[in-house]
Amino acid sequence: MEEKLSVSVLKGISYALELPEDIVFNMPRITMIGNVKAYIENAGELMKYTTEEIRFVHKYAVLKIQGESLRIEVFNKEETVLAGKIDQVQIRQRGQDHVD
């Protein structure tokens, strides 16, 4: 309950001050170059890694990337760089829907 309240307060503050959500809520920020590369900031924990699918679990969301010959070029706390042929990127909010 307290957490929900703090989230709603933060939402209100970020809306009023026009602050970016990725900074306020520490949400993942994804930058893509075509379908060959993806730069992910705040990616979260790695849940699944195969050459066809990579899945990250974040505090607020689950991030699923599907494709072919996927590989992780850089993996550290700040940034994750994915390369390969990316077909699909899915983000589901945690607790609401389950990611298949």
Partner: protein
Amino acid sequence: MPEKSIRCRYGKGDRIMWTSKCWNFIKGYVMIRVKGSSVENFLNLCIAHGIPLADLCRRDVNEVECRIPRKNFEEVKTYAAKCRCHVKVLKKRDKETYIEGLKRGKFVLAGMAFFFIMVLYTTGSVWIIELKGLNKVKPEEVVEIVEELGLKPGARIKEIDRDHIQNQLILKMDDLIWAGLKIDGTRAVLEVVEREEKPGFDVTVPCVVVAKKDGVIENIVVLRGEAAVKAGDKVQKGDVLIDGYLRTLFYQKVAAFVHADGLVQARRWYDIKETIQKEEYVTIRTGKEKRVLCFSRKGKEFPCKIGEIPFEKYEEEKEYLHFLKMGDKLPFQVYWTTYHEIRRVKKEDYLEEAIEEAVRKNIPKEAKITQIKTVKKEEKDHRIDLELKVEVIEPIGVKTKMTEEYKNRYINDIMEKENKRKQTEEKIN
């Protein structure tokens, strides 16, 4: 599953990758293969402890390859044990391995050192000497003196005394009035200015302008002196066109003879007889070409081929590479050979061009052509006999020194005219 290489250039991540790779190369890294049922947990554990991972690649269902910093290797092994994973070292690169590698490759090191020394040596010397501004003076003479002064191919740039060479060159060669030496990389550019020939006589020396050719005067512009002819007059070679005296000054008993100057143009006619070859066809380039890099040594050519030249008729053009343009100094020559495809086409205006060429050959450059008339035209087999009459307007005045005879004649002439004038005045009175 085979790894598919997908490359992306100029991206932000590539710069990151490049810098991180360089950093890893300096700091040292270990390439490991982790095998276990919970590889993801192991990776998360590494990240949570601030160990950066790179080049992750899934090799099998339970196998992942990745690169870790050398200093974190021992730490990583403990995390792998915690996650019940097995770690296998695939490649290790750190200071020790670099040093070992260098020890093994002594000759490579020596070669590299030799290469760098050679580069430093060659870039610190002059290899090409370029001479500019020479017209009458022979380049060999300048080169000989300059070599004596220390400027020759292979000379060290630091040892070249530019001021000394410039000064000595001017002192040793009377025909030069200025010399400037500029060193541009490994090329020395020596620019000189030659002494101009002195004019035949000074502007203070009295002279007259006479005709050097026959003609009919078209126009006359007198800058100094007095006009002896007018437009429309027919003159012959040697006739005086501009007199070198001033009548008014002469009456005032002042030095009357001056340096005559001016422009005199005359209409002249040239008879030209010329035999020209019939050239109804001309060879032109079609625009198609093939370029080949060639090496030659001792007259033998080694083209970097190519196969056959794809043109039936072609002409060659050689273009030497500028940076290797050292004449016979190099043991080999490098140049581009361009093969241009050629085609013969019918030329319709060949006769006009031939006439223009014949006129250009026979008429002085300064003459202005006003009319070309074909008097006779006889075609014989492959040649044409032409007779042309060309009308031109050209300058015919030339300055000559005033002789004593000329001076006396003009004094007498003026005296006579003066006497006549006096007589007429007396008669009127």
